[in-house]
Structure formats: structure tokens, C-alpha cells
Amino acid sequence: MSGFDWLVPVILTVITAATPLVFAAIGELVTEKSGVLNLGVEGMMLVGAVAAFATATVTGSYILAIFAAAAAGAVLALLFGILTLSLMANQVATGLALTLFGVGLSALAGQDFVGEPVKALAKLNIEGLTDIPVIGPILFGQDPLVYLSFVLVALVSWFLYKTKAGLVLRAVGDSHDAAHSIGYSVIGIRYLAVLFGGAMSGIGGAYLSLAYTPMWAENMTAGRGWIALALIVFATWKPGLVLIGAYMFGGITILQLHAQAAGLAIPSQVLSMLPYLATVIVLVLISKDESRIRKHAPACIGKIFHPAA
């Protein structure tokens, strides 16, 4: 337990715990920025997880598996889009239904894969670089999805704040009537944002069934979809903070396990509660300064758009 010896494995574990949250949350962030609240993240992650696992088992290709996960998540999101955007169903109710549907659908589809192991997603191993003490395994020893998650956050941040398309998307989320009146297709843009959110949730699920715990088990997300949703509020709809938040959530979970294993006399229940406690505290703190939230929170979130109005 000297120096940084103990720190490296902790950081490695935190990374795997945080990555699925990053994917799901950053996808949902884009969806919410367009003014749509999709509470079906948990369901979309589960279909992604089972699709990835099934594809990896049957074809042996992990690239195909990740695409399959994205596609499966997007298909479920499309269903959500048709119901809420075209048929104008209530977003909250539909999102909840989507989660329930995803839980059931993934369990059904995964029946034949229960109890089947799969090889974990390969990790990067660069001769010389990965062997560097401490930073080697952390910077150069991850699986491809971890790197992708960082790239994704950077891309989403750039897209939302540096491109015209991103500006339009945010405009649609802030005032759909204004965006509509100057000729943007509110429904079309929202469909794209919803599909992107679904695809990313699917990949988050794929990370669970291919890398985090390489297996398929019913309901294996165990609430991570909901944590992802909480993270977005926690991050006040800022991509960078989503990344930090995901690592904080992951970090607290892992640290509490380490504290227990080390025999620290902190009740485990209190430690299990910490991530949520942290969210509530941050929420209270940022709520004191409302302008900070208003600047980033999409004003039209959850509101149904009636083009005629």
C-alpha cells in the first residue's frame, strides 16, 4: 500500500464504472437539449446490452455488436419519437413505459443467452506505452469504448456550442415556436436528437454486457439509466460536467467499496447513499443561483410541440 500502487487499480475500476454512464448521459443530454425528455434510458440501455451480447456471441464481431447496440437503442428511441413527437403522447408517461417495455423486451430477447459467457472487449495494449508505471495502464490500457466516450463528449460539446446545427438544436429546445416560425423543422430535429440519444444509451448498455461484466443477465443495468438521467440535471446540461459527474458517481461507488474492504468503520449504507446525497447537495447549491441553470436548461423540455399553434 505504498505510493500510487493502490491508486491505479482504483482508477481503472472507476473508469469502467463511469463509462456506461457517460454514454447514456451524453446521448440523453442531446435529446433533452432539443426539448425532449426521454425517461426510457434504462430500457434503451438494456436493449442495447442484449443486442450487443447476442451479436458478439453469434458473429464474434465486437464492432458489429456495438453497432447492433446503437441500432437497437435507436429503434426503441424511434418508437418513443413516433409516440411523443408524431402522435403527441405525454413524454414522461411514454418514457416510463419505454423503460418497462425495454426491460421486458430485453429479457425476452436474451432468454437464450442467459448463463452464456463472452470474452471481454479487448483492451488496448501498446508495447512500451501501456507498461509505463501508473499512467501507462490508465492512459494506454483501456478498451476502445472508453476512448470513444471521451471523444464523444468533446464532439457533443463542440457540436452544441460551436456549430450552426448545434445552435439550431438548442434553439428548438429553448423555444420551439420561435424555431418553427423561422422555418426549422422542430419535429425533424427532435427525431434526430431522440435517435442519437437512443443509440448512445444502446452503446452504454453494450459497455455493460461486453466490457463491464461480460455477460447477459436480465435487468443488468440495475438502475444506471436513472443515474444517467440524474447526472444530466446534476451537470446542469453541460457536456463537460456530465463527464465529471459520471466519474464522480463512479468514483464514490468504488471508493466506498475500497473503504469497506480496508475495514474503515463507515456504515456501508451511508456510503451507498453518497452518490445520491451528492446529487441532492449539488442540486440545492445550483438552485440558489437560478440564472446558472436557466442558461443551460432547455426551456421547452417535456413540452409538446403543436405546429399549428
Binding site: 487499480p9 464504472a17 448463463g115 461484466t213 467499496l257 475500497h258
Partner: protein, 361 residues
């Protein structure tokens, strides 16, 4: 429903009274199961469902089994159990500790149904309780773990700090230290029965802190999988999980409810069912040990089998004194052994377990 049936039979007008009675007796009886997790957990619920299938196989057309999986403990379970009772299920198995109060509550309202509650302690006229002495199996495994560890640190992934789990930790520790006094047991509580990600993370944390054997009292194969990928030993929980860890699984504790479920359903059909408490162990084969890993040396297997036999014939009691508590005070004197009451309420660690036992659960 009943009136309609009788009316239909009268309509036929050829049925004698005697035939009517025998017709009712040969009707299919409904047997219900309430599960806390998904059948696909490959652990706890999976094994209960194997028991359900054994009932189907044993009674064929005479029974019809139904089940509801992933039922949350508490109020939600009461609704599910009541629905089953109202649907006319003759026997209802509720297979998680947290279903205890709802089971008893519903049972009082449906005196004609018979209820079987796993791992609880509240009984009424139509509620039986049953559980398995998993600690006996864990004692056998403790012998192996004590011999196989090189770092002298055993990691234990715990679900909730309830007597059931604490008993397992203590039995393991006592057995391990009986063959290797230097063994320390580190526990990480995850506060869930089933969350593959978190269970796996707990296993990683324990390995990072020196454990080279991972035991678990949670339901998914994730800790075992982590053991496999990190090159340490693990022990399967509830069912043989060697598929997930061909190299790492030393053995597994197997829950076997088949015989109990068949016996109880038979008693219910015969009319001999009555409320009782069953706590079966290695002797009744309610707890079984999976085949040992080939990597375990023969003398260690012999030690384990000796413990196994001794528990069955009663010559070995896992909780026989002298036993010291964590702080070194003598808890059980030489020549004495803990009785079932003390085992059922166990809320203290034996010497050799590290960390403080969380209270208040």
C-alpha cells in the same frame, strides 16, 4: 365460477353426485411462486425456478405452476401474493426474506391457500417457513479457501448485513482459520442482492486489497467473472457457475429446493400439509457442493470432504466452541455450540473478520 360449473354439469343432467366430487378432486391445482429476482440471474431465483420445474415434472397434469419474477420486496409483493391467492392458488411459495410480512398478511385473508415463505421466521396456521443451512456449505468451502489462499486474505462480497449472510461469513472464517490461523476475511457490502456491475466492482476492490479468493453472497456471477479475469480463485453462489469462470471457480454452493418443493406440494395435495419450519442442510441435500476444481490438491479435497461428512453425521458442528468474537472475547466456550436460535439472530463477527459489521438492518 363454481356456480357456473355446477350449472353446466346440471345442464348435462347425466352426472351422478359421486362423479361430481371426483371430478373436483382431479382438477388441476395451481401452485404459485413469487421471485425476488429474474429467473435469468443464474443464482438464487434461477435455483428456485428449477424447483418449480421439478414440481411440474413430479405431478404432471395434476398441477399448474405459475410464477412472477423480479417482485420488489415490500408493498409491491403484497399485491402480487394477494393476486395469486385470489386466483385460487393452492400453494404459494414466496422466495425472499422481504416477502415475510406481506405473506403473513395475505395468508390471514386467504385461509384456504397454503403459503411457504423462504428464509423468514413468522409462521401462522397456513404459513410454513423454510430455509437452507448454507453456512454448512460455507464451512466446507472455508476449509478449501483457508488452504488455497497464498496472501491469507479472503475477500467476501456481502449483500445485506443480515444474520443469514453474517452466519456465512463467520462459518467461512472459522473453517478457514481452523486450517490456516493466519487467514483474514475482508468484507465489502454492496447493499443489493443483484447488481452485476456493483458486485463485480466489490470483487475488484477486495482483490486490489490483497484478497486472492473471492467468496460472494450476492446472486450474479459477476464477482466470479472478475476473479477469473484477475487470475484469483472464486466460489460460485446458488448454482454451479463454472461456465463463467472455468479456471477460477474452486467449487460452488448449490441451493437445491427440488425435493422440498415436491414434498410440500404432495403434502398439500394429500391434505397432510401443516405449518412447520424446515431448515435443511447438507444432510437433506438442500445445500450441495459443486464438483471441486481439478486444481485443488487431493489433501485439500480430503479436508473438505471430511468436513462435509462430519457435518452430515453430526460429528462436526460449524459453530462449536471455542469461538472468539472479533474483539477477542470468548463467545462460545469449549464444549458448547451455538443453538439455532443464536444462529438465526447472529449479529457479530468472529475473530478474523476485518471491518465493522454495519448495524441496523
Amino acid at each position: 365460477m363454481k356456480l357456473k360449473n355446477i350449472a353446466g354439469l346440471l345442464g348435462a343432467a347425466v352426472v351422478a353426485g359421486g362423479m361430481l366430487a371426483s371430478g373436483a378432486a382431479s382438477a388441476q391445482e395451481k401452485i404459485g411462486f413469487v421471485y425476488v429476482g429474474p429467473i435469468g440471474d443464474h443464482g438464487w431465483t434461477y435455483r428456485h425456478d428449477i424447483g418449480r420445474l421439478a414440481v411440474e415434472k413430479a405431478f404432471g397434469d395434476k398441477v399448474k405452476t405459475t410464477y412472477v419474477e423480479s417482485v420488489k420486496e415490500g408493498a409491491d409483493s403484497e399485491r402480487v401474493i394477494r393476486k395469486m391467492a385470489a386466483d385460487g392458488h393452492k400453494v404459494i411459495f414466496t422466495t425472499s426474506f422481504g416477502f415475510m410480512n406481506p405473506t403473513v398478511k395475505v395468508a390471514k385473508q386467504f385461509p384456504k391457500s397454503m403459503f411457504e415463505h423462504a428464509t423468514g421466521y413468522k409462521r401462522v396456521d397456513n404459513v410454513s417457513t423454510y430455509a437452507a443451512r448454507f453456512y454448512e456449505g460455507r464451512y466446507v468451502i472455508g476449509k478449501i479457501a483457508g488452504k488455497m489462499t497464498k496472501t491469507n486474505v479472503i475477500g467476501y462480497v456481502g449483500s445485506f448485513p443480515i444474520p443469514e449472510v453474517v452466519r456465512g461469513i463467520n462459518a467461512t472464517t472459522l473453517a478457514a482459520r481452523s486450517v490456516n490461523p493466519d487467514v483474514q476475511v475482508k468484507v465489502a457490502w454492496v447493499n443489493t442482492w443483484y447488481d452485476p456491475g456493483k458486485e463485480g466492482d466489490a470483487a475488484k476492490a477486495l482483490i486490489d486489497q490483497g484478497a486472492d479468493i473471492i467468496l460472494q453472497h450476492t446472486d450474479s456471477p459477476a464477482p466470479l467473472q472478475v476473479a477469473e479475469s484477475r487470475g484469483v480463485w472464486g466460489v460460485g453462489q446458488a448454482s454451479d457457475m463454472s461456465k463463467f469462470a472455468a479456471k477460477a471457480q474452486l467449487t460452488a454452493i448449490i441451493d437445491n429446493w427440488d425435493k422440498y418443493y415436491v414434498d410440500r406440494v404432495k403434502a398439500a395435495l394429500d391434505g397432510t400439509w401443516k405449518s412447520e419450519d424446515t431448515w435443511g442442510g447438507l444432510d437433506s441435500k438442500m445445500v450441495e457442493i459443486a464438483p471441486y476444481n481439478d486444481a485443488i490438491p487431493a489433501d485439500v479435497v480430503a479436508l473438505a470432504e471430511e468436513a462435509h461428512k462430519g457435518i452430515i453425521d453430526g460429528s462436526i458442528k460449524p459453530f462449536a466452541g471455542p469461538i472468539k468474537a472479533q474483539d477477542g472475547t470468548v463467545k462460545v466456550k469449549e464444549g458448547e455450540a451455538l443453538d439455532d436460535g443464536a444462529l438465526l439472530g447472529m449479529d457479530w463477527y468472529v475473530e478474523g473478520v476485518q471491518g465493522k459489521l454495519p448495524k441496523g438492518n
